[in-house]
Subunit: 338 residues, 2 copies
C-alpha cells in the first residue's frame, strides 16, 4: 500500500501545524521556550495533528479543518510534553536524532519546559474560541484534553509500575498502552469531530476510531522495536529487548514458556549478548507471541476502519479525501515499517 | 492583629476543600494517586482556596461560595503539583515536616504525580459545570488557570536562570515572583469572582487584589527566610541564606555594597559558618535591604486593601465577613510571623 491520501494530507498539514505551534510556543525566558521547542523542531510524525485535522475535514469540510488547527497544535504540544518528561524518567540521551531536552538544558529546566508545554496545550485549545468555535464545543475540547492528560499520566504510572513486575498479563498491558498512547489519539479524533461541531455520538465514534488506531500503532511499535529494520526505524536491532522493555511480545512469550521467561529476565537484567538477543527474538516468534501481537494490531486496525465506514454509511462524511486518509492511517498503523 | 474573620473562614474552608480534593484525586494506579496526595495530606496553609472561596462569598454570597469549591480545589491541587516538581528540581528532602514526594516514591513517579495533579486541577475546574456555573464562566475559569499555569512555569524558569547570575535587579526579581507566586493567587481571586458571575472589570480588580497579596506574601516569605523565628516558621535560622537563595533581600544588599556582595557570594558558594551568616543578616539590615523589602510588602498589602475598598464603595460587596477576611489576609500577608 502507498497511503497516497494520507501522505498528501500529511504534507499539507505538517507546515501548517508547525507554523501554528511556533505562534503558541513563544515567550520569555528565551531559554525555557527554546527547551520547549527543542523536540518539536527535531521532527516527529505529527500523527496526532493528522488525526485532528483529517477528522475535522472528513466530518465538516475545509471550514472545520481550519477551525481545528489550534486543536491539532494542542495535541502535538501535549504529546511533546510527554516525551520531554518520559525522556527524563527513562534517562534517555537521544530522540529524533538529537540529544534529549534534559541532556541539553539539564533536568530542572526540562521538567519546567514540560510543564510549560502542558500549559500551552490548554492555551492552544482556548484559541479555538477566536477561530469561531462556540463555547459549548470549546468546553468539550477542554474536557477531551483534560481526560486524555489524566489517562496519559495514569498510563505512565502503570508503565513504571509494570517495570518492576512480571505479573502483568496482556489485558493489563493493553489497558496501559490505551492510557499511555491510545487516549491521546482518541482525544485527537474527538477534537477533530468537535471542530466539525459533530453530535456527541459522532464525537464518541471518532474517539473509538482514535483509540483503536492508537492501540494498533503502539502494538506495531512494539513489534518494530524487536523485529524492525534498523535502516528504516532508525533504532538499533532488538532495541526494545536491549532496553528491557516489557512489551506485549515479551509478556506473551514469557507467559507461554518458563524457559523463555528466564531468558528474557537474564537479558533485562543486563546480560544482553547478541546471541541471547537473537535467541529471544526467535523465541518470541516460536511461542506465537509475534503472530498474536500482529493479529491484535490487525484487528484493531480493521475495527477502526469499520467505525469510519459506519459514519460513511450514515452519510456523515462530507470529504472523501480526508475519509480515505483516515482509512489509510488505520491500515498504516498496523502495517508500517517505520 | 488577630485576623479573626480570616481564621474563622480558614477553619470552615480547610475541611471542605480537603474533602473535595479527596473526591478529585482518586483513581488507579493506587501508588500514583498516593504520591499525588502525599503533600496535600501533609497540610499547608490552603491560602489559595481561602482567596477563591472568600472572594466568591464577598461578591456573590453563600451560593457563589458553594459553586466555587471545585475552583478552590483546582488551585490547591495545582499549587501542590508545583511543589512536587519544585522539590525535585531543588533536590529538597523535606516539606511540611514530611519527606518530599520524590524521596518517598522516586523521581520518575514524582514527576508523573505532578503531571497527574496538573491534569486533575483542570478536571476540578470543569466540575464547576455540574455546580451550575454557566459555560461562559467555566471558560473564563479555564482561561484563568491556563494563564496562571503558563506564568508559573515562566516564573520557575526565571528563578532557575537567576540562580546563575547576580545581574538581577529588584524589578527582574519582582517580575519573577509575580509569575512564580503572584499569578496563582491572582488566578485564585479571579476564580472566586468568576464563581460569583462577576463582571469582567470586577474579575480584573479582584485579580489585582490577588496579585498584590501574592507579592506581599512572597516578600514577607523572603524576610522570614532570613529573619524569621525558627520556633514559628519551622525553618532553621537564616535558612534562605544557607540555601543560597537570591531573594530580594540578598539582591538589594548585594547591589548596595560590593563587600556585602562578596560576603553573600562566599556564603552561597558554600562557606556558610554561623559567623558569616550572622554578618550577612546584619548587612542586610544595615544596607536598608530589610526596610526596603518590608516597605514593599506593606505597600502591596495597602494597595490590595484599596482594591477591596473600591469594590465596597461601588456596592459590590454582599458579605461583610468574607470582605473582612480578605482584608485580614491582605494585612496578614505582609505581617505574618509564620
Amino acid at each position: 500500500m502507498t497511503f497516497d491520501d494520507m501522505n498528501e494530507l500529511v504534507e499539507k498539514y505538517v507546515p501548517l501545524v508547525n507554523s501554528d505551534i511556533y505562534d503558541v510556543v513563544k515567550g520569555a525566558p528565551e531559554e525555557l521556550y527554546n527547551a520547549s521547542l527543542h523536540l518539536i523542531k527535531a521532527g516527529g510524525k505529527r500523527l496526532r495533528p493528522l488525526v485532528v485535522l483529517a477528522t475535522a475535514r472528513a466530518l465538516g469540510g475545509v471550514d472545520a479543518e481550519a477551525r481545528a488547527i489550534p486543536l491539532a497544535s494542542a495535541v502535538e504540544i501535549f504529546h511533546n510534553f510527554t516525551l520531554v518528561h518520559d525522556d527524563i524518567m527513562d534517562n534517555d540521551d537521544f530522540r529524533r536524532g538529537v540529544p534529549t531536552v534534559h541532556k541539553v538544558y539539564g533536568v530542572p529546566l526540562a521538567i519546567t519546559a514540560g510543564d510549560l508545554m502542558f500549559s500551552l496545550s490548554f492555551a492552544s485549545i482556548l484559541r479555538s474560541l477566536e477561530k469561531g468555535l462556540d463555547e459549548e464545543y470549546v468546553i468539550k475540547a477542554v474536557q477531551a484534553l483534560t481526560e486524555a492528560s489524566r489517562k496519559v499520566a495514569e498510563g505512565q504510572g502503570y508503565d513504571m509500575l509494570f517495570e518492576r513486575s512480571w505479573n502483568v498479563d496482556a489485558e493489563d498491558y493493553l489497558r496501559m498502552i490505551y492510557l499511555k498512547t491510545g487516549a491521546l489519539v482518541e482525544a485527537s479524533a474527538k477534537l477533530g469531530a468537535i471542530a466539525a461541531k459533530a453530535k456527541d455520538e459522532v464525537i464518541e465514534t471518532m474517539g473509538e476510531y482514535g483509540r483503536l488506531v492508537g492501540l494498533a500503532f503502539q502494538i506495531r511499535d512494539d513489534i518494530l522495536g524487536v523485529f524492525g529494520d534498523p535502516s528504516k526505524t532508525g533504532k538499533p536491532v532488538y532495541s526494545d529487548l536491549r532496553r528491557g522493555k516489557k512489551t506485549i511480545l515479551a509478556l506473551k512469550a514469557a507467559s507461554s514458556n518458563e524457559k523463555v521467561k528466564e531468558l528474557l529476565i537474564d537479558i533485562f537484567n543486563g546480560d544482553s549478548s547478541e546471541e541471547k538477543l537473537k535467541e529471544a527474538a526467535e523465541a518470541i516468534k516460536s511461542t506465537g507471541a509475534l503472530d498474536y501481537a500482529q493479529g491484535l494490531a490487525n484487528s484493531y486496525s480493521r475495527l477502526a476502519v469499520e467505525k469510519l465506514d459506519m459514519l460513511k454509511a450514515s452519510g456523515l462524511i462530507v470529504d472523501e479525501k480526508a475519509y480515505r486518509a483516515l482509512r489509510d492511517l488505520a491500515v498504516f498503523s498496523a502495517q508500517r515499517e517505520k
